[in-house]
Structure formats: structure tokens, C-alpha cells
């Protein structure tokens, strides 16, 4: 018991609030980050269960488990939950935890708004899932028009729950917008002295750019669903041909949001990989500045390619050509990033702990998804791929084998920093191998059935598609259940009973301000900003 007051001990005033209030009223970026991550993991299991219902029905030709109407509700909610309830919140959770620490800031710029950003989500998804519960109880269909909710199926022909869906989307949108504003303000204003923009970790850069994408396009989505709301309830005809409107305009507005949205879901993934690969290769990221420029180019290009989702709507040739060329161009900066990661690995001194396994896997499988994306960009070929399982394969490769894998990688990478305990490496590797084999069994055959002619969003199919669908279903169940290994590992690590303690640096090759803090990172960190040379 020393009488000396130590000035730079962040942790000895570490009085965290307690009880439920700690979480309900939190203004702490670490706690909020934890809540986002736990929420998204829960949603992963919920959305994943829906996927298993879908895959169970698609195991064999014939209808065995659900009516077509319910099947459409499953595909719709699965998509909405995974996009808005898993991938996006998980990345926001990672940002909340890591961005302040990476730039030497004590917290996010607007801690109270941060709280509200999070708590909107359980509300939004509660509403959405309530519509499903009501549907199961026979009170009317939950949203059943696909996560892309095209008009007029969702407007004139939508079930009563559509209006709840619209409200839910508004809440998710507000949450994302506020989160993005917070991130931009934090990055712009709260970097430690000496941390210039070009010294920020790449994860911070990718989130900075992603945040700008969010504030640019989430409001457009809000506009689209508001137009839906007024078309349905207040007599407008934005998307109704009868009143002089145009269903295709819905698609333009939706995809103007929708395309940047998918880059919102992948840029933070790129950031995570750019943190992990240098750490385990013990070598600095190759081409830091071109990584920044490439990410910015991808973000810019993402605004001018939206109609590649609409090649079959009857666009004039000039437009088809423009969108084809612009979409193909995105391959260039994306390729640069892949080459840079490989160059980081090249002549490094690599070890292959679980985060590195997921990161390497990301690079390979995301690239496969990128190649099928290039194939889809080519308009005449797209006429054969559009709305088939080829597209389903493509986007699952980039979002599951891609974005979700980067989130797994990030969790393994940063869990020791968050909890102060090393996760179980053997279980981590087990999770990795079972997931990776099963995920490829699940999604790779979808390329084949798509090329063979199987459309999307159908609950039953002809015998010619049966074999690969069976493989996919088997893969789905194995993949789904193997996530329980991760759940177990996380709980085990958090409790810390029989785990190895983590050091500050955790990983031998880890560099950055976050690794100068003790593990677990103290409740309040960098209350005095560090100086960056």
C-alpha cells in the first residue's frame, strides 16, 4: 500500500458500474463493443437456424417441412438478419472496441449516442422477429419478399407485417448512421498527438471509409422504405405503375444503397485482415499507402455500379455497357489489396495460429467470390447467372467465407486483449478446420446448380439439382453446429478458469497502440493520450 500516487495508472480507478445498469446505460466503448458482438453472435444463431430450415427443405426434391409461403419468409428474414443483424453489428462492435485504442483515444467521440446506436438494434430486430412469431401463430405472414423487397411485391402485394418491417429498417438505419457519425468524429478529432492519417492502422482507415459510405447510403435506404410506406398507406405511387410510378425505379433506389452496402460489409473485413497478416508474418503490411488508395477507389467505384443488379430489367445497351465496365474495374483495386496481402506474407516469418488460419482462408475464399463477381459483371453472361444459385454462391462466398471469416479471425485475434485470457488454441483450430471444410461443402456446389439452371428463392426443385443440394445441406448443418465450438471457446475464455493469461502484446508480431495496453484492456484506457512518433 504505497502512499505515492501514480499518475499513469489507468487501471486503478477502474470502477466499472455494476448490474444491469452497466449495460443499459453504458457509455463505454468497450462494453458497447461487447454488446454489439454478443448481439451479433446471437443473431448469427437465429439467422443460422433459418438457414438450416431452408437447407432442410432443400435437402430433397419435394416439400417436406414447410409451405412455400413460410419458406419465402425464411429466406427473407435470413437475409435481413444476416446482413443487418450479424455482419454490420459485428463490425461496428469491432470498431467500438478497437478504434479508440488503436488511435490512442479514451473513448468514442459521442459516448451517449454510442449507447443509443446499440440499443436501437434489439428493438429493431425484436420487431422483425415478432412478425415471424406472429406468422408461426397464424396471424399473418412475416415479410416474405426477399431481403431486397422489390416493389410491387413488397408494396401493393406485401403482407401487413411489411409496415413493421419498414419501421424496423428505419431503426437499423438510424443506428448505423449514428454509429458512422461517431466513428468519423472519433477518427478525425481524437487521434493521439503524432498519429497522422497515414500512420493510422489500416483497420482504422477501412472503418473511416466505411463510415462515410454508411452516411452516404443508409439515408437513401431510409428514403426508399419511406416511399414504400407512403405507397402502402398514404396513397402515393412512387413504385406503382397505376399511379404513374415505376417498379424499376425502386430497384434503382434500392441498389444505389445496396451496392455500397455490400462494400460496407467487406471493407472492415479487409481492415481486419490487414492487421492480422502482418502480425503473424512478423512483417509490416506491404504497400500501406496503396492499401489506403485501393480502399478509397473501391469505395468510390461502389457508387457507380448499382445497376449491375438490374441487367435483366430491360435497360438500354449503353447503360448495360457502362455498368459492366465500371463493375469490372472494381477488380483492379481489389486485386491490388490481395497482392499486397500475399506480399506481406512473402518472405515473412509466419506462424499459423487460429487468427492467421482464418485470415489466410479469407484471402483465398474471398478471392474465389471475387472471381465469380467478375463473371457476374459481364452482362451477357449475367443473363444466365442472374437470380440463380450462381449468385447465391457468389455472395455467400464473399459474405460468409469472406466477411464472417474475418470477424471470426478478429475475435480470435483480439479476444485475449478483451478478456486477458488466451483462448483455447486447439479448439480454435478445430473450429477452423470443421468450419472451412463444411463451408466449402455448403457453398461451392451452389455454383454448379446455378450454372445448371436452378433459380433462387424456390422451395422445391427438379431432380437434376438434387445431388449438389444434398451436399450443401450436409455442409450447412455441419457448419452451423460447428459454431457452437466457437461459442464454447468464447465463454471458456471469458470466464478464464483454466486458461493461460494473456500479456499486453499477446502476439509476437503485434504492433500498435492497442498492444501497449494491459490485457484485459482497462475499463478506461488512454485517459491521457500517448505520444506517437
Amino acid at each position: 500500500m504505497s502512499a505515492v500516487i501514480e499518475e499513469h495508472h489507468d487501471d486503478h480507478h477502474d470502477h466499472k458500474p455494476t448490474g444491469i445498469g452497466r449495460w443499459l446505460f453504458s457509455t463505454n466503448h468497450k462494453d458497447i463493443g461487447t454488446m454489439y458482438l454478443c448481439f451479433s453472435f446471437l443473431m448469427l444463431f437465429i439467422g443460422g437456424t433459418m438457414a438450416l430450415v431452408i437447407r432442410a427443405e432443400l435437402f430433397q426434391p419435394g416439400l417436406q417441412f414447410v409451405e412455400p409461403e413460410f419458406f419465402n419468409q425464411m429466406t427473407t428474414l435470413h437475409g435481413l438478419i444476416m446482413v443487418f443483424g450479424v455482419i454490420m453489428p459485428a463490425f461496428v462492435g469491432l470498431a467500438n472496441w478497437m478504434v479508440p485504442m488503436m488511435i490512442g483515444a479514451p473513448d468514442m467521440a459521442l459516448p451517449r449516442m454510442n449507447n443509443w446506436s446499440f440499443w436501437l438494434l434489439p428493438g429493431a430486430f425484436g420487431l422483425l422477429i415478432a412478425s415471424l412469431v406472429m406468422s408461426i401463430m397464424g396471424m399473418g405472414s412475416a415479410p416474405n419478399f426477399g431481403w431486397t423487397f422489390y416493389a410491387p411485391l413488397s408494396t401493393t402485394y406485401g403482407p401487413a407485417s411489411t409496415d413493421f418491417f419498414i419501421f424496423s429498417v428505419h431503426m437499423m438505419g438510424i443506428s448505423s448512421i449514428m454509429g458512422a457519425i461517431n466513428i468519423i468524429a472519433t477518427i478525425m478529432n481524437m487521434r493521439a498527438p503524432g498519429m497522422t492519417y497515414m500512420k493510422m492502422p489500416i483497420f482504422v482507415w477501412t472503418w473511416f471509409i466505411t463510415a462515410y459510405l454508411l452516411i452516404a447510403v443508409m439515408p437513401v435506404l431510409a428514403g426508399a422504405v419511406t416511399m414504400m410506406l407512403t405507397d402502402r398507406n398514404f396513397g402515393t405511387s412512387f413504385f406503382d405503375a397505376a399511379g404513374g410510378g415505376d417498379p424499376v425505379m425502386f430497384q434503382h433506389i434500392f441498389w444505389f444503397f445496396g451496392h455500397p452496402e455490400v462494400y460496407i460489409m467487406i471493407l472492415p473485413a479487409f481492415g481486419v485482415i490487414s492487421q492480422i497478416v502482418p502480425t503473424f508474418a512478423r512483417k509490416k503490411i506491404f504497400g500501406y499507402s496503396s492499401m489506403v488508395y485501393a480502399t478509397s477507389s473501391i469505395a468510390f467505384l461502389s457508387f457507380i455500379v448499382w445497376a449491375h443488379h438490374m441487367f435483366t430489367t430491360g435497360m438500354p445497351v449503353a447503360a448495360e455497357l457502362f455498368f459492366m465496365y465500371a463493375t469490372m474495374l472494381i477488380a483492379v483495386p481489389t486485386g491490388v489489396k490481395v497482392f499486397n496481402w500475399v506480399s506481406t506474407m512473402w518472405k515473412g516469418s509466419m506462424t499459423f495460429e487460429t487468427p492467421m488460419l482464418f485470415a489466410i482462408s479469407f484471402i483465398i475464399m474471398f478471392s474465389i467470390g471475387g472471381f465469380t463477381g467478375l463473371m457476374l459483371a459481364v452482362a451477357p453472361a449475367d443473363f444466365q447467372y442472374h437470380d440463380t444459385y450462381f449468385v447465391v454462391a457468389h455472395f455467400h462466398y464473399v459474405l460468409v467465407n469472406g466477411a464472417l471469416y474475418s470477424i471470426f479471425a478478429a475475435v480470435y485475434f483480439w479476444l485475449p486483449k478483451w478478456t486477458g485470457n488466451m483462448y483455447d488454441e486447439k479448439l480454435g483450430k478445430l473450429h477452423f478446420w470443421i468450419s472451412t471444410i463444411s463451408i466449402n461443402l455448403l457453398f461451392f456446389p451452389m455454383h454448379f446448380v446455378g450454372l445448371a439452371g436452378m433459380p433462387r428463392r424456390i422451395p422445391d426443385y427438379n431432380m437434376q439439382f438434387a445431388e449438389f443440394n444434398q451436399w450443401a445441406t450436409v455442409g450447412a448443418f455441419i457448419f452451423g453446429f460447428s459454431q457452437l465450438i466457437l461459442l464454447y471457446n468464447i465463454i471458456k475464455t471469458a470466464r478464464g478458469r483454466s486458461t493461460e493469461k494473456a500479456t499486453s502484446q499477446v502476439w509476437e508480431g503485434a504492433e500498435g497502440l492497442e498492444w501497449t495496453l494491459p490485457s484485459p484492456a482497462p475499463f478506461h484506457s488512454f485517459t491521457t493520450p500517448p505520444t506517437v512518433k
Binding site: 419435394g62 503490411i285 459492366m324 506480399s343 518472405k347 428463392r457 431432380m463
Partner: protein
């Protein structure tokens, strides 16, 4: 090492797509029109270029994973930049993309030219069937899935799922002549659908209130199947498309047959039908148009679609029964079938519903009654 094996495994799977697993269809079919073949060629080119790039990039990764690892004692280099390399691997992909864009542009421009066609067919997407209208020929008909039992969990097991054309067969095929440029016009009755035949390489959205166009020309007679490819509601997966390409002679014969059928239907509206004739015909009409909701056994789905067994409409006033079928029931899912079914069909349907499943009302409707009620 394991990573290397995994990577090699996947690459060889992709490369051997033709030989290995020959029973399973792994690739797109080239099809029978110049677009489907153009699309196939571009698809193949882009795919193999992608595979080649993947082999190089993943190969380099694999090499690094094997040799540049700490456990092999490899010490990390310190380079973290090389501007020349960055420029090279920005420009080369750009050139490769340009190389792909040229043939893609050619195929696309060819597809858009619908002029100088020999005939036109208007395709209308309905929930959940297609309508074909041969413009200028006075031939038009609906094309429904031939196994309406497929549409519901309760009855799906009645259908033979191993049938080669399971879910891909219809009651009335679209028929076109070989070697003629057929202009297709597309629209929809309700929501957006999409008409696709993989072997033709034609996929076009059908949008309510708007008209789209495309064209087909093939020199290969045969039967070609496709499906609706835009989510359009409950039975999106159950509205297949079947196009039969016949020789010109056979096409003219078919066309004549269709006109004769229409004349016969008009004539049959004049005649008086017997109970047996109506029950038989009515059962067919019911299966195609009504069973999806009211079910083959007439029981409906509780709280969703009313059953017809012992229902007030089916055993009550016949005029009201006829009105419900012709004009539908506003505010409910019971649509107006007056525009889709002819007098003979509706008469048979009314008779069937009033006498099947133990309803046994004993009365029947004649086509003339339906005509009067319209």
C-alpha cells in the same frame, strides 16, 4: 502443408470440371441460340482467366506458407513497399479486363437488335403462371404447371419427384418454328416476374405496366425448359416455362390446331353438356386453377383458404356460385376468373364443385348460363 493440399484440391476440382463427376452437370450449357452460345463462351473465358490468376496468386501464397514460416527458421524480411510492382500489378489486370470487355460488348450489342422479326409473341407473367399471346394470330392461352399438387406440403407427396420433368412441365407449351426470328414482348399482370430459358440465353423481367422485348432464333428443334426467375410470391418456384421448337410445317399444324381448339371451345359453349362430361372436365379445370388454394380434396387450408366441401357457396344458390367464380370476392384472395377461363370451363367447374367430395347438390351449369351471367 495442409493449407497447400487444400488449395491444390480446390484448384484441381475446378480444372477437372469436365472430366471428373461427368454425371453431374457442373457447367452452363452452351444452348441453342447465338446468345446462349455467346454467353457460354464469355463465361468460359472469364472463368479460365480467373482460374489462371488464382493458380498464380494462391501458388505464391502456398509457397510462402510452406517456406517462409518461422518453424522452418525463415527470418522475416523488412521490405514493405515496391512502387514498380504496384504499378505493374495495377496495369496488367486493367489490360486483362479490357481483353474481356471486347467480346462481351459484341455479344451484348447483338442481343439488343430485335428488328426484322418473323413473328411476335407477347408473354405475360401472372401469379403463378404464364400467358402467351401470338400477336396477329388470334391464338392465346395460359400455361400452368402440370402438377398443381406440387404447390403444397399436404399434397406434394402425390407427385413423382424423380420424374425427369418434375416441376418443369406445363399444360400448354409455347411453340415456335425453327429458324425464324421470334420477337418476344414481356409484361406482367401483377408483380415482377422473369422469363428465362437457359438454353436460349434469354432472361427478361416482366414488369406490370411496362413492356420489354427480346428475341429468339434457333436452328435446333426440341423441347426447352426454364423457370420464373424473380421472386413473385408464394408459388414463385412453381411457374415453369416450356418452349417447343418445331419445324415450320409442324408449327403451322400446331397453330391451326390451337385455332381449332379455340373454335371448339367457343362451340362447346353453345352445346349442352352431360353430367359425366362436366365432372371430368371440371375436375381438370379445378386441379389447374383452384386446387392450389382450395386443395385437391376441397378442404382448403383452415383460416386461410375456405374449404368447398359443404360450403354455403358451393351448395347454395347457383347464380351466386357462378358470380364468385367470374368476379371473385373483393377484399379477399379469391380472384376474378372470368377473364382467364372460358364459359365451358367455368360451367364444368361449377358443376364439379357442386357435386364432388360428397357435395352432391345434383344441379349443373351450362356454358350458356355462364355467358348470360357475364
Amino acid at each position: 502443408m495442409r493449407a497447400a493440399i487444400r488449395v491444390a484440391g480446390f484448384i484441381s476440382l475446378m480444372l477437372s470440371s469436365g472430366q471428373l463427376l461427368a454425371d453431374y452437370q457442373l457447367d452452363m450449357r452452351p444452348g441453342v441460340t447465338s446468345f446462349s452460345q455467346g454467353a457460354y463462351e464469355i463465361h468460359t473465358m472469364v472463368m479460365w482467366i480467373s482460374v489462371a490468376i488464382a493458380v498464380v496468386v494462391f501458388g505464391a501464397m502456398t509457397y510462402a506458407i510452406i517456406y517462409h514460416r518461422k518453424s522452418k527458421g525463415h527470418k522475416a524480411s523488412s521490405f514493405d513497399d515496391n512502387t514498380t510492382l504496384e504499378i505493374v500489378w495495377t496495369i496488367i489486370p486493367f489490360i486483362i479486363l479490357g481483353f474481356m470487355a471486347v467480346p462481351a460488348t459484341k455479344v451484348l450489342l447483338e442481343m439488343e437488335d430485335t428488328s426484322n422479326s418473323d413473328m411476335s409473341i407477347k408473354v405475360t407473367g401472372y401469379q403463378w403462371k404464364w400467358h402467351y399471346d401470338y400477336l396477329g394470330e388470334d391464338v392465346s392461352f395460359f400455361s400452368n404447371i402440370s402438377t398443381p399438387d406440387s404447390l403444397s406440403l399436404a399434397t406434394s407427396a402425390n407427385v413423382d419427384r424423380t420424374a425427369e420433368t418434375y416441376l418443369l412441365d406445363v399444360d400448354n407449351r409455347m411453340v415456335i418454328p425453327v429458324n425464324k426470328k421470334v420477337r418476344m414482348l414481356f409484361t406482367a399482370n401483377d408483380v415482377i416476374h422473369s422469363w428465362w430459358i437457359p438454353d436460349f440465353g434469354v432472361k427478361k423481367d416482366t414488369i406490370p405496366g411496362f413492356i420489354n422485348e427480346s428475341w429468339i432464333k434457333t436452328d435446333k428443334p426440341g423441347v426447352y425448359r426454364g423457370q420464373c426467375t424473380e421472386l413473385c410470391g408464394t408459388n414463385h418456384g412453381f411457374m415453369p416455362i416450356v418452349v417447343e421448337v418445331k419445324s415450320e410445317k409442324d408449327y403451322m399444324a400446331w397453330l391451326a390446331g390451337k385455332k381449332a381448339e379455340a373454335a371448339e371451345a367457343a362451340a362447346s359453349a353453345e352445346k349442352t353438356w352431360t353430367m359425366e362430361e362436366q365432372m371430368a372436365h371440371g375436375e381438370k379445370v379445378y386441379a389447374t386453377n383452384c386446387a392450389a388454394c382450395h386443395q385437391a380434396n376441397g378442404q382448403g387450408i383452415p383460416n386461410v383458404f375456405p374449404g368447398l366441401v359443404g360450403s354455403p357457396v358451393a351448395i347454395g344458390d347457383i347464380a351466386k356460385h357462378i358470380d364468385v367464380i367470374i368476379n371473385g370476392v373483393p377484399g379477399t384472395a379469391m380472384q376474378a376468373f372470368g377473364g382467364q377461363l372460358n364459359d365451358a370451363d367455368i360451367a364444368a367447374l361449377v358443376t364439379y364443385e357442386r357435386n364432388a367430395w360428397g357435395n352432391d347438390v345434383g344441379d349443373m351449369a351450362q356454358p350458356a348460363d355462364i355467358k348470360a351471367a357475364r
